[in-house]
Every structure is written in structure tokens, then in C-alpha cells.
Amino acid sequence: MTYSLQFGQIMRDIPYILGGAWPTLWLTFVIFFAAAALGLFIALVRLRGGPVTSRLAGLWVTLTTNSPLFVILFFLFNGLPNCGILLSPIAATLIAFIAISSGYLAEIQRGGIQSVRQSELDAAETLGMSRWQTVRHVIARHVIKTVSPALSNFFIFTMLGTSMASLVGVNELTGRAIEVTSRTFRSIEVFSIVAIAYVVLSLAASMALALVGRMLFRVRMRVV
């Protein structure tokens, strides 16, 4: 027992470490929305595409949801340079995360789309709704209602996942923690601060998502 907690030594570094929340947040947002758009496209192809294209979409989902993100990231960052493709840490992170997340998000959104019953579409048609009105008032409502808890879970999952980007050299929360630790050796102090930062960030995100769901779509979601 020679280690004693000394937060004083890292006081000057705390703003820098917590500043890592910004890269974490924007990475999360970019990855989530890009992957959600891609996932929606894949889900639609899977449901409505021709025999070959829907197979391909299914294959993409199987491949992405069964591959570890960390290994993909390593593969892109350390494996591809040997084939002459050199990716920056951010590029490798974005490609790996968006690719993998698109598979999960496609499955989530497919479930949502399938939750719309044919009888409701018929009812909309009987009421003389246009295609756009049907999508807006009938399909979108259903999809959002069934999908939003899973989506908000996945958003948090993405946020926590971005910590892996630190391992290819992205300077987000965890990356900065590793950097400060190697400089000051106050490992436990630094990492407990980062852990608290993640808890606070993800709680705030959960609450914000629950609020958005309730205000815009009248979906009730549990935060804790």
C-alpha cells in the first residue's frame, strides 16, 4: 500500500481532461445520426428491396453485428496501411463506428417499421390520406414509439463506445485520461474523474432524450 490519492497534483489538468467531453459528444452525435440514416436505408432495403439487394442488406447486418468494434478499429488503423490505405485516427473511428452501428440501428428500425399493422395502413387509405400523410401521421408515429427506447439506449451505448477511439489516438475523454495518466502517474484520480464524467454525460443524455421523446412524440421513457 504505497499509493495514496492526491487530487492536488492533477488539479491543473482537470479542465483539460473534462474538455475531452466535447470530442466525445460530437463523435457520438456524428456517429449516431450518420449510422441511423444508413441503418434506416439498410432496413428499408431489407424490407422492400429485391431478392438480391435485401439479401445483401441482411448480410451487412449479420457481418456488422457479429464483429467486435475494437478489432475493426484496429484492423482499419493498423491493418490497412499495409495495403497502402492510411487513415487518420478520426477517420478510422468514424468509419468503424458508423459501419458497426448501422447494422444495429438497421435492426432496431426494422423492428419499428414492422410494428405498423396493415390494417392501419388500410384505414389511412380509406381516410383518403396521401402517401406522405400516411408516412407522417401513421407510420412515423408507430415507428418512433416502438423504436425510441431502443434508440436512446443505443445512443448511450455509442457514447460509451467512443472511449475505444482513444486506443487509436483520438483525444477524447478517455484519450486525455490516458495522456494525463502517463504524464502524472495519478491513474486512479484521473480515471475516477473520467468515470464520473461519463456517468454525468450519459445521465444528461438519457434525460434529454426522454424529454425530447415526451415533448415531440409523446413517448414515455424511463431514465433510471
Partner: protein, 227 residues
Amino acid sequence: MIDGLEALVKPSTLMFLLRGAGMTLLLTAIGCSVGLLAGFVLAYVRTGSGWVFAPLRWAATLFVEVFRRIPFLVTLFLVLYAAQMVVPRASLFWVAVTAICLMSSAYMAEIMRAGLQSVPRAQLDAAIVLNFSRWQLTRMVVLPQAWKVILPSAIAYIVMFVKDTALASQAGVFELMFAGKALANRGIDPFVVFGAVLLAYFAISWPLARFGRYLEVRLSRPVTGGK
């Protein structure tokens, strides 16, 4: 790349990767068993009532919420540094196992809770009227129905979890990803090595995912009387 393939397809190299895959499976198995047990205890405590157990309930909630909101990588580093503080020569394997168990217990607790709460309220009221104790109620009424809800999500979680164990390599634990990194450091083309590692993870994860899907369809079928 061809050289890389030749270097990879040697019995000794393949055995090395295979041993790594074995360790990955072992880490997953330990994490899941502890996670299922601890998750059940946490969920049982959390869904309980009565003010006597309130502090226990809060503690369980805090544990679950905190460990579900810290990235596994950060948990791993924290456990690693804390272990080094307490035990000077802590075994890296047990460090990884501890971190994995902390995470899996928290996630499994949520899955269990959703399962325990899936049983219709009326049945619980009926059991209470029949003077069942809480444990009897759980054992004889809730669990026989809840496991059908719990099992598919638990397997879906395990499928995700197998892939998270790859991060244990970052703490220096020998498993599949670590074996891959070691081979890449030894000079075999990283493209080939990490490609092989990816395939190996896929080979572990895919059958498990298929099995989970099968169970989900099978268990959601309504129970019909007779044979």
C-alpha cells in the same frame, strides 16, 4: 499479404490464435455466470419493497446505474489501477475478470428486472393472498414465467459481451485479440492477422446470435396444451 497468409497458416501460429480464442470463451463464460447470478440478486433486491431494505435497494440501483454508464475500457483501467494499489503483483487475468463481472452484473441486472416485472400483476396479488413469501412467489410464480423473457435478451447481451472482452487485451490479458496483437508485433502482416482475428470473433458470435434468435422465436410461441 501472401507472405502474411503463409506465416499465419502454420500449426504453431494457428494454435496460438486458438488458445487465444479459448481464453476469450473462458472470460465470457466466467463473466456470464457471475453476471447472471449477481444480476439476479441485484434485480431481486431492486424490485423488493419495504423500508427496511430501502438502503439495499438504493445501493443496488446505484451499482447498476453507475456501471451501466461507465465505458468498459474505463472500468477496466480503474480496476487495474485499484488492484495494483492494493495487491502489488495482481494477476492481470483476475483484473480483467473482475472488470468483466462488474459490467456484466450491472447489465444482467437490468435484463433480469425487465423479466421479473413482466409477470402480470394479478398473479402476484393472487400469490400474496395465498400467503406466499416473497421468495416463494419469485421461485414458484415469477421465475417459471420470467425466464422466457430473460433468456433471449440475456443471450443477445452475451453476444455483445463476447466482443467487449477484446478490450481486455488492452490490460495485457492473453485472449484472442491479444494473440492477434502479439502476432502482428512479431512481424506477420497486420492485415492478415486482424482479418483472421475478426473471422474468429465472427465464428464465436454468429452461432450464438443464431441460437438467440431461434430461442426468441421458439419461446414466444404460445404454449398449447397436450403434447
